[in-house]
Symmetry: C2
Subunit: 198 residues, 2 copies
Amino acid sequence: MGLRELKRERTRRLISDKAFELFTDHGFGRTTVEQIAAAAEVGPSTLYRYFPTKETLVLEFVENSLFGALDWFREQPVGLDVPDALEQVIARVLDQIESNPERVRAVYELAGQTPSLSAHLTDAIWRWRKELTVELVRREAGDGTALTAKLAAGTTMNIIEIVVETWVDHPDGPTVKQLAEETLHLFRDNAIPLPRAR
Amino acid sequence: MGLRELKRERTRRLISDKAFELFTDHGFGRTTVEQIAAAAEVGPSTLYRYFPTKETLVLEFVENSLFGALDWFREQPVGLDVPDALEQVIARVLDQIESNPERVRAVYELAGQTPSLSAHLTDAIWRWRKELTVELVRREAGDGTALTAKLAAGTTMNIIEIVVETWVDHPDGPTVKQLAEETLHLFRDNAIPLPRAR
DNA sequence: CCAGATTCTGACAGTGACTACCATATGACT
DNA sequence: AGTCATATGGTAGTCACTGTCAGAATCTGG
């Protein structure tokens, strides 16, 4: 790796860290991009070259956790058992989440106070779901409407979101893995009051 | 209803219609709030008094469709059959959607081209899911983590979103009601490759 | 080690969404 | 009519974000 890439990594990290510091200290809305740039000792234009929006500064980690697992799934051989693979995808996302609990809690904390952050977080999850759907359709060559693929992707998304949300809201509660187990078992045992067909 | 409320309704409607006109003609991003205000012959500050954000101009109808059904659910007697009630909630949302198909298609069309709209649409759906969860917890007095309520709400949200999305993407395909039936049956028959517990 | 190509940086000027504020106008009520 | 409450629209300002560009830093080939 050349000196260029090294500096790039370093600058990116520096900006991100300073931003998080300012956000947690003074709040997302009360921190301007200019202040972040100043704290990181770069120009605002440089900051925007690394992070397209202010929200990205906060959400990058979560986004990477999600899409990293999706990339893994894409690389898996076609024809493998889909339910198992989806469970693996969930496990990989949750592993990432658990690898940096403070960061994730901080993200959710900020998102709870800032509508625009919450919207962008949701948006990332939603985009992830859509891409997962595409990948499932590619594998199953589903029917025209691809309803089953959409439901499988949506359910996978739900499980992840619910586990993370519950875990964030209960700092002294069960671990991520325990919650995931419990949630999956609830599904398997039909213990959920789902809407019914007539 | 006094003259005041009448004018308010009329102004609101006028702004909303003009906005939609401009958005569909020139695109969401290429239309400024100032232009909308000018077209509706009001000042920008007046526009902002009716619609807190530019996105609201587009999403209000969808949002009303969702939260109207939620309000209905809240008014239902406690102790009713939850799965049936959730199916009713779905039916009511979809009824609203079907009551103005062009508007809904236009919203999704715009959202497909505009990331910020897509994010706000998702955000509305997400907020709806959260409030539905709260209502389910209130009714069931669920356990501490409320996993089942969260899953039921998430699944309900998924079904609605999937039906609407599929319906929007296939103008000549099945009706909303047919899609809803099909989706609910897929669930009941365990025909979806869901993630599995170990 | 040097010259030229490539990429990175930060400054400047601008757009547009959104906020706070206030004088004026308009419907509501007696 | 006169008074009160609310609606309006204008002004000034903040801030996220974009486009551009000259100069600085890094890389590459000789």
